[in-house]
């Protein structure tokens, strides 16, 4: 027997059936019936954020740290338009989230009604798929399909726009099992012939490298385990994109560190000099490749990706394998073992000797001298003092984000939540709240810059209201540091508008929100201050005053190849040519 219920009730029922335990949202006229249903039940918790953008980022943080889809609810018009940045962010980073938006009643659509926006039109290019549901009878089925689309294949954000009259009207509820599946069934298993060919290449390669990305993490914890087993058994070095950090442990013996624009010297030179590159769930982003004509010129390249459109988009590869990373790694391991676990031992030995030389350059070295805290030092201490915790890190965007990737060690997947593809300042703070909700007992730290943090600082209210003890670790250089760095390198040190005057007193700000504030300026006080932050049972704003004009190195300037890397001690003025300057 089908159950009749209102659209609003149906939404709660469908979310419950999908195993949702928390929604991040913000109410308004067009979602009142849904909020009324939220009020009358206890299965699903609603977290009232302070801005819809934060609802989406919080859902992203929840999703990325759990592997489950995150859910957000926003009202029509401005509620929906405020969600656009978060949706685009989730699309770029392949994060599964389901966003429900209210819409004006169906009979008013198209009339420029109060708080009407063409939400499906606006969000079409920034969702994996979206729906405008005009009949209550279809609503529950669409919600079930939306979860399927968001979580299968390459994950991504979906949006369901629900007019208010559809929320009020009654219709039959379609349970999850009865929902018509969409035809959307991405390929999971990789082609065995291609996988065998890859294993053969792997056995012979003299200078192989695994170049791993967010796809390993999105595939689930088993994929990370398989990657570790394959890398450790074969002795092949591993590097990773920002999005893939933690899939292979930073403490692992084959770890080269992150690659790319601010990646490690040894990782980038190994990518440049390898003879076999095995891309596992990464997408040859321009932050990774540098100048594509000179990208790893002497290697054969294999590319494992669940999204066929990632193959040959930027870099033409010799061996594409479409499918789920976990399944393909499993087959790779099986085939490699059954063929006798062969590797080119002599080649690999030389390769590691070469890598050891590159590592000896110690590209991340810096000097902590004097009375001013270096941002690198602050992160090194944060790493040392938090290493024993099951620690989740979110970041904002800028220099601090790159330093966090360089100086913090990620030994498990799903422990770093950062805006990689879109580079959204304002992501980290709300994301940290989503992570903390999913992991109430874990230590959650948002490594932030003072500029980014101000972009969603209102979420301090959310943190205090729900007693979310996430720590806001602000590396305060009183500069929009990353942009300032580019102005120094590209624009003759003309620091146009990268310096915010009248920054707030972050300790007083914390106090105003009812949270704890800590300021530290002297390197000698840093450890105690960090311990105070960790030991405080509640949200903290940690204002760490750091060196103002520190630059983030190594750096591959835009438009340069991997072997033209700037190091901390290099003379950097004017090294980026005009054609590099047009790039971002």
């Amino acid at each position: 027997m089908t159950r009749q219920m209102t659209g609003a009730k149906m939404i709660l029922q469908a979310l419950k059936d999908q195993g949702v335990d928390v929604i991040f949202g913000y109410p308004g006229g067009a979602v009142l019936p849904i909020y009324d249903e939220i009020f009358q039940q206890n299965d699903i918790r609603h977290i009232l954020v302070r801005h819809e953008q934060a609802a989406i980022h919080a859902a992203e943080g929840y999703a990325r740290s759990t592997g489950k889809p995150g859910v957000a609810l926003v009202t029509s018009g401005p509620g929906a338009t405020n969600a656009v940045t978060g949706l685009t962010d989730a699309l770029m980073d392949s994060i599964p989230i389901v966003v429900l938006s209210g819409q004006v009643p169906t009979f008013m659509i198209g009339n420029d009604a109060f708080q009407e926006a063409d939400t499906v039109g606006i969000t079409r290019p920034c969702t994996k798929h979206n729906w405008l549901v005009k009949e209550t009878a279809k609503l529950s089925e669409v919600i079930h399909q939306a979860f399927h689309v968001a979580t299968s294949g390459r994950p991504g954000p979906v949006l369901i726009d629900v007019p208010k009259d559809v929320q009020f009207a009654e219709g039959p509820y379609t349970p999850m099992q009865k929902a018509k599946s969409t035809r959307y069934e991405p390929q999971i298993k990789g082609d065995i012939g291609a996988i065998t060919a890859l294993v053969e290449m792997m056995e012979k390669a003299e200078r192989p490298i695994f170049y791993t990305g967010g796809g390993v993490i999105n595939s689930g914890p088993a994929a990370s385990q398989l990657l570790r087993e394959l890398a450790d058994a074969s002795g092949i070095p591993v590097t990773s994109t920002l999005m893939g950090l933690g899939a292979y442990p930073a403490s692992g013996k084959n770890w080269l560190g992150m690659l790319g624009m601010h990646g490690l010297y040894e990782a980038n030179l190994a990518m440049h000099g390898c003879d076999l590159m095995i891309n596992i769930g990464a997408r040859f982003d321009d932050r990774i490749t540098g100048r594509v004509e000179d990208f790893s010129p002497n290697s054969r390249k294999a590319h494992i990706d669940i999204d066929p459109s990632s193959i040959n988009k930027v870099i033409a590869v010799d061996l594409p394998i479409v499918g789920d990373v976990g399944h393909i790694l499993e087959d790779m391991l099986k085939i490699w073992k059954s063929r006798g676990r062969k590797t080119n031992k002599a080649g690999l030995k030389k390769w590691w000797t070469q890598i050891a030389e590159w590592k000896a350059v110690k590209c991340l070295s810096y000097e902590q001298v004097g009375k001013v805290i270096k941002p690198q030092y602050a992160l090194e201490r944060l790493q040392a003092l938090t290493a024993k915790h099951d620690r989740y890190i979110t970041t904002e965007v800028g220099q601090h984000q790159m330093w966090a990737a360089q100086y913090l060690a990620f030994d498990e997947p799903n422990r770093l939540m950062t805006s990689g593809g879109l580079g959204t300042m304002g992501y980290g703070h709300p994301a940290s709240l989503g992570v903390q909700l999913a992991h109430p007992d874990a230590l959650v730290i948002n490594v932030s810059g003072e500029g980014s943090w101000l972009m969603n600082m209102q979420e301090m209210g959310t943190a205090v209201q729900y007693r979310l003890p996430a720590k806001q670790f602000i590396l305060n250089n009183e500069r929009l540091g990353m942009v300032r760095q580019w102005q120094e390198l590209l624009h003759g040190e003309r620091y146009s508008n990268t310096w915010q005057e009248a920054l707030p007193d972050f300790v007083k700000l914390a106090d105003a929100f009812g949270a704890k504030g800590i300021r530290v300026e002297d390197p000698a006080d840093l450890d105690d201050a960090i311990m105070e932050m960790i030991n405080h049972d509640g949200p903290v704003i940690f204002d760490c005053l750091v060196e103002k004009h520190e630059n983030c190195f190594p750096m591959i300037p835009s438009g340069a190849p991997h072997n033209e890397m700037l190091m901390g001690n290099a003379e950097t003025q004017g090294v980026i040519g005009n054609s590099g300057a047009v790039l971002v």
């Binding site: 994996k128 040959n312 930027v314 190594p554």
Partner: protein, 187 residues
Amino acid sequence: MSALNIKKGSSAHSAYDLKNPNAEVIESHTLTVVVDNEAGVLARVIGLFSGRGYNIESLTVAEINEEYHTSRITIVTTGTPQVIEQIKAQLGRIIPVHSVNDLTVEGPYLERELALFKVTGSGDKRVEALRLADIFRANVVDSTLESFVFEMTGTSEKIDAFADLMRPLGLTETARTGVAAISRGTA
């Protein structure tokens, strides 16, 4: 491989120039895309082309299966082989897309377009227009003492050729459907 030896102003190329556009031929491909005939599906397809900077030479769409509500979109597009592959892969990512076929690579196929031409004039020009229409097997579907409307189906090239001939003879208005295409034989 010394990384510290950096030439000043050494980056000569853009990371966004995927391929030198002159180094590769631009090809024209005819794609057929079967989609669920649901609201917004055409906007998804067109938005993909505009958002990613692909070309559309011609695009036609109509429902082809009433029972299953599927439509067939025929797109003529141009690009380097790499871009054409990207277009197909990107189309395949759209959720309501059932199938993407590249007729240009899949074997022999037919392309047809329908066009309506309004030609106005009198005297010799009018006679000549009618005579050429006959040669091109264009039908007269409307006539007044000063005008004809010709209807013609054929390849885009044939329609282009006819339009060229009509222009000096008083062509005042043209309506074209864009290309519909189908494979030959049982494929």
